[in-house]
């Protein structure tokens, strides 16, 4: 799914977000609006999407670009249906995240930042996700996956493939 405009419901959410801020400070809604746009437009933000957000907020496109490129949670390229965000920071490293990242690279045949050819998986290495009590770990969608081992990674990949097949 590529770029389109917000539907009625998304526009209502947009208006709600902007209304949180004082008169003339509508730019403050930029980050939440980008979150909304990314969620609405297939998990990533194209240049058209960024321009559309600028138009909606009545700010210059450059003001949107500079923000979208600064924060790591905005994807500026299409991503897979399942994004593996694997923590690579100290506490996870001490518990073997290097091996996990290497294993995912080998299993899926992609490097961090890349997406598999079938569009299913994207691998991202990220900094601390605040889940160090159960390291090594990754985030998948809105959930943490913890105490990762090679077997667990296999099971997660298998689970995603199954879910994708069911949804198709």
């Amino acid at each position: 799914m590529g770029f389109m405009k917000f539907n009625e419901q998304q526009l209502a959410e947009f208006n709600r977000l902007v209304a949180r801020y004082p008169e003339g400070k509508q730019k403050s809604a930029l980050l939440p609006v980008l979150h909304l746009a990314q969620e609405s437009f297939g998990g990533w933000l194209s240049e058209e999407a960024l321009n559309y957000v600028a138009e909606l907020l009545q700010i210059k496109p450059i003001e949107v670009y500079e923000v979208a490129t600064f924060y790591s949670m905005y994807h500026l390229k299409p991503v897979g249906k399942y994004v593996f965000e694997v923590c690579q920071t100290g506490p996870c490293m001490l518990r073997g995240s290097d091996n996990i990242i290497q294993y995912i690279e080998n299993t899926l045949g992609i490097k961090p930042g890349e997406t598999t050819a079938d569009g299913l998986f994207t691998l991202k290495t990220v900094e601390c996700l605040g889940a160090c009590g159960y390291a090594p770990m990754m985030q998948l969608g809105k959930h943490y996956r913890e105490h990762l081992t090679k077997e667990k990674v296999d099971a997660i990949i298998e689970e995603c493939r199954k879910n994708a097949a069911v949804n198709n």
């Binding site: 930029l30 939440p32 924060y71 506490p91 601390c128 889940a131 160090c132 159960y134 959930h143 913890e146």
Partner: protein, 547 residues
């Protein structure tokens, strides 16, 4: 709703609790950690099991926030016996219920810490993990349902707000916080009462309160757990702060990477609005206050207060020089109070019990308790709260159960990428602001990363520098270029290709970056390098000699 209505509700809820028809309560930890290891399925299965056995009138099941020993999850706790079972899965629920409730013979090999202790405690409170802790900030985490306002109300929720609104002036509140000697829990340890007073003194038609929940230090997950486990406590703290400094609007800035914390805090705001605890004329007083949540988008530097404010304003999260401090000119140029999640969570107990009470806990210069997140090569990783001044040895060995695989303790990193390491010869250090600074580290936000004798310190320094390099916002040259150069030099040495001159350059650079960076993050980026050099210089030199 006015004050009387709230009290009526609290009386009713307390009466309900006292006349509770249930003989047992089963708490199921539903913190993000336990959820990812399957506690939601456990919760469902447990409900089915209780229904099947027709015990619904005897047993109440309560989903709670974090209980503490995260890597033992999923955890379930039976009350009133305080019996905790670890690594519970759906397949053993039937036998746990049978043994614990029906036969009254707990299954010892499944009790919490059965794999560490020679004999696990049936009453988990007797285990050193809990016995050595003092929970003030985390008091109700793990005991109440964070998604039910009524649960919070029964446990003295919003009692402090009521007291403040109807019995205290702004000056009284500030005096009480000053008297408590509480210091900000975000890392720098600035006296909280003094900060509040400064914002209070600025005259403006509009002031703001911001809760900094952009927790990003590697090894830190205190704020996430507090927001997940007891969101109303944070909300109450923000309300009291708003009343004290004269603000009517608050923003809670929470990391985008914390979806569960966001969900629960959003729910808490909604509940509070419905009950009239947020909005106009709160509880019938003259005080009006509302809170909006702001979700971060992945930038460590936004934990720095001026960067956080820029981010709320819809800009890149880059810091600006201070002064002016946010207290004078913060969000949209208005006086703004910024405190950390843990600081706000500590406010209500101070109001309820008095500043004097709080000031007597801990050490003379560091009052109260501190929440730490234990991570790394430690047996029991998770969330703990201890009085300031507790020794690192007690935390690692008594509470944390020692080092994994019986290895030796080598060092603990405090303060994340801005802090330093405490080596084994200083393991008896008292954990308070001053003692840690004396050893070349800092308290920081509370992440405690434990390293064993197999950990290579040059590699650790490289990892922290890589983090700082990745997360540098790029605004000032010393940090943007300096962290990259330091990283490359450490990597060169770590890879066995470094020379003596590289080490000299590295030390020289560290001083430049420390002294000339714009914000605290850049200025502290060399700290892990400097502290590993201070205590483990031989490891750098060995790598150079081998080269």
């Amino acid at each position: 709703m006015n004050r009387k209505d709230l009290q009526t509700i609290i009386y009713a809820e307390k009466a309900k609790e006292e006349n509770n028809k249930y003989k047992y309560k089963i708490h199921v930890c539903c913190g993000a950690g336990c959820i990812s290891s399957g506690s939601e399925e456990v919760l469902k299965k447990l409900q089915e099991e209780i229904k099947q056995r027709e015990l619904e009138n005897e047993i109440e099941i309560v989903p709670t926030g974090c209980m503490g020993p995260c890597n033992q999850g999923p955890l379930i706790k039976f009350e009133p016996n305080h019996t905790i079972y670890q690594k519970v899965d759906c397949s053993n629920i039937a036998s746990i219920v049978q043994n614990q409730i029906i036969d009254k013979k707990p299954i010892e090999e499944m009790l919490l810490f059965a794999n560490f202790r020679t004999k696990a405690f049936i009453n988990a409170q007797e285990d050193p993990f809990f016995k050595k802790q003092l929970k003030i900030t985390l008091k109700n985490c793990g005991d109440i349902n964070p998604e039910k306002l009524e649960d919070y109300l029964v446990h003295d929720g919003y009692k402090a707000l009521d007291k403040v609104l109807f019995e205290m002036s702004s000056e009284d509140v500030i005096a009480e916080i000053k008297h408590s000697r509480m210091r900000g829990r975000g890392g720098a340890g600035y006296p909280t009462g003094l900060k509040w007073e400064t914002v209070y003194k600025y005259i403006s038609n509009q002031k703001y309160v911001i809760c900094n929940g952009d927790e990003g230090d590697p090894g830190a997950f205190m704020d996430r757990s507090v927001l997940e486990g007891n969101p109303h406590r944070v909300l109450e703290g923000m309300l009291i702060a708003g009343y004290a400094v004269g603000a009517n609007k608050g923003f809670a800035y929470i990391r985008g990477e914390y979806p569960l914390a966001i969900k629960r805090f959003e729910l808490a705001i909604k509940q509070a609005r419905k009950m009239g605890l947020l909005g106009n004329n709160i509880l019938g007083s003259n005080f009006s206050f509302d809170i909006e949540i702001r979700i971060g988008a992945g930038a460590f530097v936004c934990g720095e207060e001026t960067a956080l404010i820029a981010s709320i304003e819809g800009k890149r999260g880059t810091p600006r020089p201070r002064p002016p401090f946010p207290a004078e000119s913060g969000l949209w140029g208005k006086p703004t109070l910024i405190n950390n999640v843990e600081t706000f969570a500590g406010i209500a107990p101070i109001i309820n019990n008095g500043g004097e009470w709080y000031s007597e806990i801990g050490t003379p210069k560091s009052a109260g308790t501190k929440v730490f997140a234990l991570a790394g090569k430690i047996n029991i990783s998770g969330l703990i709260e201890v009085p300031m001044g507790t020794s690192l040895h007690e935390i690692v060995y008594d509470i944390g159960g020692g080092i994994q695989h019986d290895h030796e303790f080598k060092a603990a990193q405090t303060g994340g990428p801005s802090g330093g390491c405490i080596p084994a010869q200083h393991i008896d250090v008292k954990m308070d602001y001053e003692s840690l600074i004396n050893l070349g580290s800092i308290m920081g936000s509370g992440g405690l990363i434990i390293m064993d004798n197999y950990t290579e310190m040059v590699d650790v320094a490289r990892f922290f520098m890589e983090f700082c390099m990745d997360e540098s916002c790029g605004k000032c040259v010393p940090c943007r270029v300096g962290t990259k150069m330091m990283h490359d030099l450490i990597k060169k040495i770590n890879d066995g290709k470094g020379t003596k001159i590289d080490l000299e350059r590295l030390e020289e650079l560290a001083v430049y970056v420390k002294e000339t960076s714009l914000c605290g993050l850049g200025a502290s980026a060399p700290n892990p390098l400097l502290s590993t050099l201070r205590y483990f210089r031989n490891e750098y030199e060995e790598k150079i000699q081998k080269a």
